[in-house]
């Protein structure tokens, strides 16, 4: 019995209750659709949303859990993971709101779509807490494979097929590269798969620098694919253009958040000694993403592609926090992702509403929308302005915090580049807003002139309205009342043992051999802290 109780302590299954709820919801949706059939399947999306919200509520109860490791170290339910899992679950809940009408109208099967999306969420949530190489890989594949399926969901549309195929091929290649990196780690650390043990194993190896550097580069390549950082972004525009819009919304928020969670945990916990190297790599990724994402977004004529490129740029901003590699840096990443969740999903909700009503997503077609649909115009404008970082809105505070954290860490050049890039981004966001608001009635586009009467009582439209208003309210209020979110992000970082122990580990080992980290010009940032 002694053994049994000890074992259940180590298992600590309670920590994955939120994921368990998601699995239960997933099965309920699948089986419910099977038994109840088409008619009764209308309620299934709401069951899914209820399940996701329940899962978020249950996450709250594990805040500051005494023993954050579960299942013999393969999962870590610390506050860092909780906040990321919350972000992912919330983004799915909002995405489901916007996909109900969309999927019905494009003639797909809704409940299976929701089941696949819930699986993607499950993968993302597990990825955010995965603390072990095998777990990381399986969770990553769960997320990726369900993403491929969703991308190709509109199978009668050749662009959707193309997007799915491209995503699948590039994704599989990047998974293979990631897996190769993990196998190197496994070999270097003497057969360890749990991340902290890998760090210890790596510290003991003499002369494994080349192998660990290759492992680092390969694993970052895998992660960079997930967050679509620039040299690994080629799939993004095509996939974003071809796949169903709600999927794009999920990919640009939920999937990206999972990627960042993985990046923080993997790099900080498993590669504490290589910190200068991975900061250097992320600096390059951030610079390229910010420049290319924002510059190419300028030239876009389709709203969907515009948001695709802007999301590449936004990922570049978030990476500043990663490069800072300080507590403030990580906290600012979380804060920005929280805010980005609402503003980006709000923008996508607006985009879906417009394309559902008019069948187009060309930017010029938005001209004069203000006259016909004030609510949509308001929501879309606020979200876009917030994405650009206009002062009273949430996005502004998120960016300020990121830049502040970067400045504190001594990344002056990167922050200045970020400022320039966000000024550029304001230009293209404002262009859309101007198109919608400023145009005189006679300059209205044909599409808007034929705009159907706004009816919210059609099936599936109410959730869209709820989603739009919800993200609108949060985006406009989260800026002024950002304090709770801010404290949430900060405490989650402060309470996370893994980050702390990794930094002390780093300090101890750098005290022993100085030449490791001081050889790099960026090292003083850590020492200051």
């Amino acid at each position: 019995m002694e053994f049994a109780s000890n074992f259940s302590d180590q298992l600590n299954v309670g920590l994955i209750l939120p994921e368990g709820i998601v699995v239960a919801t997933l099965l309920a949706v699948l089986i419910g659709d099977l038994i109840l059939g088409r008619r009764a399947a209308r309620g299934l999306p709401y069951i899914a949303i209820a399940g996701l919200l329940l899962s978020i509520v249950s996450l709250y109860f594990y805040w500051d859990a005494e023993n954050p490791t579960a299942l013999l170290g393969s999962f870590s339910g610390d506050d860092l993971s909780i906040i990321f899992r919350g972000v992912i679950a919330l983004s799915t809940a909002v995405t489901i709101l916007m996909s109900i009408r969309y999927v019905e109208q494009t003639g797909g099967a809704l409940s299976e779509f929701i089941a696949i999306m819930l699986t993607a969420t499950l993968g993302g949530m597990f990825l955010a807490g995965a603390n072990e190489l095998v777990m990381i890989f399986v969770a990553l594949e769960t997320l990726s494979i369900s993403s491929y399926l969703m991308t190709g969901y509109m199978k009668r549309d050749s662009r959707s097929n193309e997007a799915a195929l491209k995503y699948l091929l590039i994704g599989a290649a990047s998974s293979a590269v990631f897996l190769y990196g993990s196998s190197l780690l496994y070999g270097l650390s003497g057969g360890k798969t749990i991340l902290p043990e890998i760090a210890q194993g790596l510290a003991q190896v003499e002369g494994g620098e080349l192998a660990s550097a290759i492992a680092l580069v390969f694993m970052i390549a895998g992660i960079a694919f997930k967050i679509s950082a620039v040299p690994f972004h080629q799939w993004t525009p095509d996939v974003y253009e071809g796949s169903p819009t709600p999927v794009v919304a999920f990919l640009s928020v939920g999937s990206k958040a999972a990627g960042f969670a993985l990046a923080i945990r993997l790099l900080v916990v498993a590669f504490p000694l290589e910190q200068p190297q991975w900061r250097l790599i992320f600096t390059a990724l951030a610079i390229l993403s910010m420049i290319l994402g924002n510059a190419v977004a300028l030239a876009q004529t389709s709203m969907k592609r515009l948001l695709a490129y802007s999301s590449i740029g936004q990922a570049g901003f978030v990476m500043i926090g990663m490069v800072a590699a300080t507590q403030a840096g990580y906290a600012s990443m979380i804060f920005y992702l929280l805010v980005y969740l609402f503003m980006n999903l709000g923008a996508f909700t607006g985009l879906i509403l417009f394309s559902l009503r008019t069948g187009t997503d060309q930017i010029t077609e938005y001209a004069g929308l203000y006259q016909k649909d004030p609510l949509l115009t308001l929501g879309l404008s606020i979200c876009l302005l917030s994405l650009g970082g206009i002062p009273p809105l949430a996005g502004f505070f998120g960016k300020i915090y990121l830049f502040w954290a970067g400045w504190q860490a001594g990344l002056y050049g990167l922050v200045i580049l970020g400022l320039v890039a966000s000024v550029v981004s304001i230009y293209y966001y404002i262009r859309v807003v101007k198109m919608m608001v400023v145009k005189e009635p006679q300059e209205m586009s044909d599409t808007v002139r034929n705009y159907p009467a706004v009816r919210w009582n059609l099936p599936g439209m109410r959730p869209l309205q709820v989603g739009l208003v919800f993200s609108l309210v949060v985006t406009s209020l989260a800026g002024i009342l950002s304090n709770p979110l801010f404290t949430l992000a900060n405490t989650s970082i402060e309470n996370t043992e893994a980050l702390k122990s990794a930094s002390t580990f780093l300090e101890e080992t750098t005290a022993q051999n100085k030449e490791v980290s001081l050889a790099d010009p960026m090292a003083p940032a850590i020492v200051e802290k």
Partner: protein, 208 residues
């Protein structure tokens, strides 16, 4: 070196040579069917290497999964869509080939250097031979790799659902459209193009 070691060494050389040449053939041959068959040869040689490493279960699974399923699927795809297409010859093809070769050789050199120069810490040398590898794998599945194992079941379930969705022919039930949902031009999406296939009695036609 006694007899067993000698046999092992010779088998390793043969398997490695077979894998290497087959893999090169997969990449270099112009005929895609040959490439697909050679891919099967690569998988079989890898399985032989697993056998040399005492991982008999992995070896058998490798054959079952990669040769029996993956490779057959690839062959199916190739043979069902084996349309000969004359691609226009690209100018300066040797340049592309050269650049690709350069990158590949460079990568190989890098990884080779790494594999040789790194002091791999091989702590756990106690092989799996003492206990059947199946038993050992099973124990790992239900102890330290429990969570990935369970998650993989969800992954497989949804992969199956997704594959069926992508492969099945959509049957759109002939029910009257709801009021207010009439197919106005404005409510059509770009993703809409579809031919309506009515649900008929002739089931056999749809299943073939």
């Amino acid at each position: 070196m006694d007899l067993a070691q000698g046999v092992q060494f010779v088998s390793f050389i043969i398997l490695a040579a077979m894998m290497f040449s087959a893999a090169l053939g997969v990449v270099l041959l112009r005929n895609i069917v040959y490439s697909a068959f050679l891919l099967g040869a690569v998988f079989i040689s890898i399985s032989g290497l697993y056998l040399l490493l005492n991982a008999e279960f992995v070896a058998a699974s490798q054959i079952l999964v990669y040769v029996g399923a993956v490779n057959v699927l690839i062959l199916f795809a190739i043979m069902l869509v084996n349309k000969k297409e004359a691609f226009p010859a690209l100018g300066r093809n040797w340049l592309r080939g050269g650049a690709t070769a350069l990158v590949c050789v460079g990568l190989f050199a890098l990884l080779g250097t790494m594999a040789i120069s790194t002091p791999w810490s091989i702590a756990d040398r106690a092989g799996v031979a003492a206990e059947g590898s199946v038993i050992k794998i099973g124990k790992h599945f239900f102890s330290d790799f429990l969570l990935p194992f369970e998650l993989a079941s969800v992954l497989l379930l949804i992969t199956m659902v997704g594959a069926i969705i992508l492969a099945r022919r959509d049957l759109i039930p002939e029910e009257p459209p709801e009021s207010g949902l009439t197919e106005t031009e404005a409510y059509k999406l770009q993703e809409r193009p579809r031919e309506l296939i009515s649900v008929g009695k002739s089931e056999s036609e749809d299943q073939s």
